[in-house]
Each structure stands twice: as structure tokens, then as C-alpha cells.
């Protein structure tokens, strides 16, 4: 966990926020893309980033009113945004019905056993986070897991360790 922390502090949060705002705009309607961008850059949205977004977006002269609690309420609402540091690799498992009925339960069991993590946990070495997610829209090849940006379909419990071994 310390590793992640140091890394975050090394980065220039005001710069990252500024770049995100330049890319997506500084209106209220740009907030979700801006926050997504920051989340992608840092892996999560730390409190400093929330304060920084407010500082750079809130502007009564343009009639854009934003406060930190609103931003926090958004970050905690959307599943793709995280308030807590995540592991280097995030394993997302689809827990919706289409994957469930074609053997998803067993795959989830295999993931839990292999990573020794429960839903929402991050491993002590900061390598893995395991989360469930709602449908990813790739249902014809269920059960589906998503590791970072990589999609794996038709997963069987046996394949789980093989797939995980590809990441370091």
C-alpha cells in the first residue's frame, strides 16, 4: 500500500486535473469525464484531487457551482470511479444473470480462491483488486472477466490461474 501512496504523492495532482479539464471542458457537464480521466491517471480519486477539481471548476462568474461534498457524492456513486487506491490490476467479474447461469458461480469461487481476496478487497502487496461488476455487454461469451482492459470470455474455473499468471 505504501508503494501506491508514494507514487500518488510524487505525481502533480494540480497538473493532472488541469490536463483533464483542458481535455473535457470546465462546465458542470464535463465533471464525469474529468473525474474519469483523473481516475484513469491516478488509479483512484484521492481527496487532494477532489479539492483540486473544485478549485479549478467552481466559478460563480460562469455560474458553475461545485463543492467538494458534491464531487465526493459523485465519485462514490459511479462504479468506475474509486475513492480508494486499487491494485495494479483490477479483476472485474460479471455477476449478472447471463453469466451466472452458464457457470459464473464456479468461476467466481476460483477467483476468490486463487487471489485469496473477497469482493472489493485489494491484496496486501498492491497487485490485485477483485470486484464484481454488472453486465459488461459481452454476454454471448459468458462467463466474462475483465482484467484491466482485457476481456476474457467463456472462462472456466480451470483457466483462472492460467489467466492470472499472465500479469505481473
Amino acid at each position: 500500500m505504501d508503494v501506491t501512496k508514494n507514487r500518488i504523492e510524487d505525481r502533480n495532482i494540480p497538473e493532472i486535473v488541469k490536463a483533464a479539464i483542458e481535455k473535457h471542458g470546465n462546465g458542470r457537464d464535463a465533471l464525469i469525464p474529468v473525474l474519469s480521466e483523473i481516475n484513469a491517471a491516478l488509479g483512484y480519486i484521492p481527496a487532494q484531487a477532489i479539492a483540486e477539481v473544485r478549485r479549478q471548476v467552481h466559478d460563480p462568474s460562469r455560474q458553475v457551482y461545485v463543492n467538494e461534498s458534491q464531487l465526493y457524492s459523485m465519485v462514490s456513486f459511479y462504479q468506475m470511479l474509486s475513492t480508494k487506491p486499487r491494485g495494479r490490476h483490477v479483476v472485474k467479474f460479471c455477476e449478472s444473470a447471463p453469466c451466472h447461469v452458464v457457470g459464473g458461480r464456479q468461476v467466481w469461487q476460483a477467483l476468490e480462491d486463487e487471489l485469496k481476496l473477497k469482493n472489493g478487497e485489494t491484496s496486501a502487496d498492491g497487485k490485485w483488486s477483485l470486484v464484481t461488476t454488472s453486465c459488461l455487454g459481452i454476454c454471448s461469451v459468458g462467463p466474462v472477466i475483465l482484467i484491466d482492459e482485457d476481456v476474457y470470455g467463456n472462462v472456466t474455473p480451470k483457466e483462472v490461474s492460467e489467466i492470472l499468471a499472465k500479469y505481473d
Binding site: 465533471l31 459511479y78 462504479q79 447461469v101 453486465c135 454471448s140
Partner: protein, 556 residues
């Protein structure tokens, strides 16, 4: 042996010859020469193949496309379209055989795949989704061109209204009426918002449209903007659809470069701009007012209605919110007319529907078929039957917020009206086919787990109701429930249906009713006998949940 690219067969029998098959053959030969294809394409004859209704026939391999009846003067056109340009000449296709009676019809359809009727997905997979040139060659921008140069906005709306198109997002609201509400609303500016937040589990039709034919969506939104009098459009796409996002962004860029988007489109004086907006992962944002909240940069919590978005939508202005598939349908209607559109589907639900098929079938995937096809047909024809050794038990339609369809409703035509009458709902077009290995209680538990997780928490009936229902279902799967618990279901379902703020809470109650209505015996077996007939539920309390007796709330 000489290798050829294609083989053309012309029917040669007395009836065909009488109808000009010989001249046709000669004309085809000439046309091949004209296009300099005689080396690549082989021309031959075939005798009676049992299609005397459409003689003379022309069959083109390797695609095995059957044309008929083909007149001698069609030869040039046919060669140009199919063999020179490489696309099927739709208007010459032999009609699907007219037989009466369900069995005859089934038999006639079986083996003649694809008997699909692709309207929305007609270009997906056939064109380069990143090239506007390819799109334009394949009839792109015909609809918008026609609307902008030859039709008034009111005429466009009237045509859509006449077509009887219903919203394809799940509710089935008449599209023409929605458009006229927005057009007639006072207040400006107006907005068009495309709901591409496709998060209904098992539904991925919109992803296919956006990835396979992104220009069509861009064109359709522009068309809708013209009809309702808006100059700004938004595409709210779910954050998980990275490829679709890229392609749409590219489509907007290219369309702008070609003058199909932006200022003064087709010199008509009409200007339109489209903005992309990615969500960040929230099922409830598929609900239109939650989507608007999210677009405005807030938590995606549904608004109280009325007022409806047609008068008070984005930034409080009149806003048209339509699903991707709905919009994609409008292009074909403007091109081919409402009359043509009504020739597809059923009287109350015209047109086609894109379904995504999943579960225990041989061929899961996506199909587009006319409205009114039955579930049995979908499974036995398009999905090539149940997996070996599986027996159909139930289907779950429309993702989580649809209905559970038992075997007894397999022959109900799938359209909005018939399903409504049968007390079930069609939803967004996902068909999850389950066999004997699926436990009804376990399935309902997964659905409620989903709703409990995705409930935005704004209104109490949904926030607490989904949690309560999940707890009861979990108790049933652990063998801890009593029959009194079952009485709780209708009560809970009634409260959620009547008092929830939005469709999420209302539809979360549906599985509770459905499982008792169709599968009461199986549910009671869990309670009375302590067994799970499908052998899925643990039927014992897991150690952890026994220790933590405190109610566990849904994770944030």
C-alpha cells in the same frame, strides 16, 4: 480445374423458359462481359429446385442467394449489384415462401437461415465502420438528405408516427408521439439525447449498432434533431463501451468534415452538433431522467415525474431521449416509408426487433427478426435449439427488468401488445434461456442482488425493498425461510411497484411475483422439503452469514 469467384445458376425448365429464362441467361452472359467478369464468374443452369412460385430463378453461390422471379431486363442490374459491387440486390430476392399454419411455417423457415430481416443491423458487419465513404455507398445519408431537402419537420414526425414505431429501450412508447411532444413543447433550445447507456444485463444490441454502424446513429440523431427542432445532440454512452465510443467519435469527426454535421447541412439552413458523453458505471443512468442528471454532472438519481423530459429535460429544456435502436429504425422508415415499415412485424408492433440470445442454447448471439416471432421459434430456429441434454425451463427477457417467461408462454408472439396481455414484458430484447439446471430461487436472488447493488438509494421503497427481498430469497436458498415469508413477496412487490420513484424499483418487484406465479412448487420445495430441486442452492447456512447477523447493506 478453373477456379472461379462466384457461380451463377439460372433455372432451366419448361416453366422458366416460357418466362424468358433463355433470354435471361444470354443477358447475364452479356452483362458479365460488360463488367469484365467472365473469367471470375461461372454461369450455368439448374433444373427444378421446387420453387415454382418465383421462376425464373437465379441462384448465386457461394452466398447461396436466391433471386426470383428475375426478368431478362433485370440481368444487367443483378450483375452490377451482386457481382460487380458485391451486395445483395434486395429487391430481386425470392419471397419467403408463403405457407399457412404454424407447423408449415416453422418447417419452411427451418434450414433457410438467415431468415432474419435486418433493418437496423443491415450494415453492421458489412461495411467499414470507420469509413464514411463506405457508409454513403451503402445508402448512408439517404434518409437525412431526403428529410432535409424534401420534407418539413412535421412531415418527418408524421411519417414516423404513421410507421407505428415504438421505443426499443423497453417501454415501447410510440416514438412519433414523443417526437411531436418535443416539437410542440415551448422553450428553447431543445436537445436530442441518445440513450446509449445500455446496462441491462444480457443486452448488447446497442453496442453492436454503435460498433458496426456508427454513422447510422449519428445520422439518425441529426434527423431527430431536425424533426423536433433541436440543434444540439448528446450521445450518453456507458463508460464500459470504449470501442463504440471511439467509433462514434470518429463518425462525428468524419461527418463534420463532410458537411453532414455542423453548420448548414446540405445547404438546408439546418445546423446540428453532437457531443459524446461517457458514463462512469451506473445501471440506473439508463433511466432517462437519471441519465439527464448524470449528463448535467450530478449523481445519476432519477427525477420525480411529471414534468417529463419532453418538456423539462436537460438543463430544464424540452429534450428528446431515445434509445439507440429506436433512432436507428427511423432512418429506414424515412427512406422506405411508413407503409413499408408496417409490412414488417405485427399490427400493434410494426418493425423488427434485435434480440440477444444467451444461456443454454447451441447458438447464442444476436438476431434481428420481425416483431411477433415466438420464443419457441427463436430457440428452435435461430438459436439452433437447446444444448444437448437440456430442456427449456424458462426464459428471462429484457435483462433484469424484464419478466420470467415459463414454458407455457413459449408460443406467445413476442411483441409489446401480446406480451402485455400475457402479463409479462418484452423489455430491451435480451433473451436468457435457462434449462433444468437453473434454480428459480437462485435466479431471482441474482436478479435482486443486482437491483440491490444498483439501486441509487434515493427513494426508500426501492432502497429497502430490494434489500428485504434479497434477504428473504437468500434465506430460502439456505433453507431458513418459512411459508410466511412467501406472503411477504406480493406485499413487498405491491409496495415497490406503486411507490418507487422510477422503473428500477418498479421492475425489481417483478421477479418476486413471477417466481410465485409460475414456479410456486419449486419455491415451496425449498421451504417445505428443504431441498433445491435443481441442486443449486446450498440449503445450509454458510458459516460467515450465520456469525454476522447484522443486516448487510449493499456496498457503495
Amino acid at each position: 480445374m478453373k477456379t472461379v469467384r462466384s457461380l451463377i445458376l439460372v433455372s432451366e425448365d419448361e416453366a422458366s423458359n416460357r418466362l424468358g429464362a433463355r433470354t435471361l441467361f444470354q443477358n447475364l452472359q452479356d452483362a458479365l462481359q460488360e463488367f469484365d467478369l467472365q473469367e471470375e464468374v461461372m454461369l450455368s443452369t439448374i433444373t427444378d429446385i421446387g420453387r415454382s412460385d418465383a421462376l425464373p430463378l437465379v441462384i448465386v453461390y457461394p452466398e447461396a442467394v436466391v433471386y426470383g422471379p428475375v426478368r431478362p431486363e433485370d440481368a444487367h442490374y443483378l450483375i452490377e449489384e451482386h457481382l460487380y459491387k458485391g451486395r445483395v440486390a434486395e429487391d430481386l430476392l425470392a419471397p419467403i415462401r408463403q405457407l399457412s399454419g404454424r407447423i408449415a411455417w416453422l418447417r419452411a423457415r427451418k434450414g433457410t437461415l438467415p431468415a432474419e430481416k435486418r433493418v437496423v443491423l443491415r450494415r453492421a458487419g458489412r461495411i467499414d465502420p470507420e469509413s464514411i465513404d463506405d457508409y454513403i455507398i451503402n445508402d448512408g445519408y439517404l434518409a437525412l438528405g431526403k428529410a432535409l431537402t424534401k420534407m418539413t419537420p412535421a412531415e418527418v414526425i408524421a411519417e414516423i408516427d404513421k410507421s407505428g414505431l415504438q421505443g426499443r429501450g423497453g417501454a415501447g412508447f410510440p416514438v412519433g408521439r414523443k417526437w411531436s411532444f418535443v416539437a410542440g413543447a415551448s422553450g428553447s433550445p431543445k436537445y436530442v439525447v441518445c440513450n446509449a447507456d445500455e446496462s441491462e444485463p444480457g443486452t448488447f444490441k446497442d453496442r453492436l449498432i454503435m460498433e458496426g454502424d456508427p454513422f447510422a446513429l449519428v445520422e439518425a440523431i441529426t434527423l431527430a434533431g431536425y424533426a423536433v427542432g433541436a440543434n444540439t445532440g448528446y450521445i450518453y454512452i456507458r463508460g464500459e463501451y470504449a470501442l463504440a465510443y471511439q467509433r462514434l467519435e470518429n463518425a462525428i469527426e468524419q461527418a463534420t468534415a463532410y458537411g453532414m454535421l455542423g453548420e448548414n447541412i446540405f445547404d438546408s439552413g439546418f445546423s446540428f452538433h453532437i457531443h459524446m458523453h461517457a458514463g462512469a458505471g451506473a445501471y440506473v443512468c439508463g433511466e432517462e431522467t437519471a441519465l439527464l442528471e448524470s449528463l448535467e454532472g450530478k449523481r445519476g438519481e432519477p427525477r420525480s415525474r411529471p414534468p417529463y423530459p419532453v418538456t423539462h429535460g436537460l438543463w430544464g429544456k424540452p429534450t428528446l431521449v431515445n434509445n439507440v435502436e429506436t433512432l436507428a429504425n427511423t432512418l429506414a422508415i424515412i427512406c422506405n416509408g411508413a407503409q413499408w415499415y408496417r409490412s414488417l412485424g405485427t399490427l400493434s408492433s410494426p418493425g423488427t426487433k434485435v434480440y440477444t440470445i444467451m444461456g443454454q442454447v447451441n447458438a447464442p448471439g444476436v438476431i434481428e427478426v420481425p416483431m411477433g416471432i415466438t420464443l419457441r421459434e427463436v430457440i428452435s430456429i435461430y438459436a439452433r435449439g437447446m444444448k444437448p441434454g437440456s430442456t427449456f425451463k424458462l426464459a428471462q427477457t429484457g435483462g433484469s427488468s424484464g419478466s420470467i417467461i415459463p414454458a407455457s408462454l413459449q408460443d406467445t408472439p413476442m411483441d409489446f401488445e401480446s406480451f402485455r396481455k400475457a402479463g409479462v414484458s418484452l423489455g430491451s430484447g435480451a433473451l436468457l434461456i435457462c434449462d433444468e439446471t437453473t434454480c428459480i430461487v437462485d435466479l431471482a436472488k441474482v436478479l435482486l442482488q443486482f437491483f440491490r447493488f444498483e439501486s441509487c438509494g434515493k427513494c426508500t421503497p426501492c432502497r429497502v425493498g430490494t434489500q428485504r427481498a434479497y434477504e428473504i430469497l437468500k434465506r430460502i436458498t439456505e433453507g431458513q425461510a418459512t411459508l410466511d415469508d412467501l406472503d411477504e413477496f406480493p406485499r413487498l412487490a405491491g409496495q415497490m411497484e406503486q411507490t418507487s420513484n422510477c422503473g428500477l424499483g418498479q421492475s425489481a418487484a417483478v421477479p418476486l411475483r413471477d417466481i410465485l406465479k409460475y414456479f410456486r412448487a419449486e419455491v415451496e420445495a425449498h421451504i417445505r422439503l428443504g431441498v433445491c430441486p435443481a441442486g443449486v442452492c446450498p440449503m445450509t447456512v454458510e458459516r460467515e452469514s450465520a456469525q454476522t447477523k447484522t443486516p448487510v447493506l449493499a456496498p457503495a
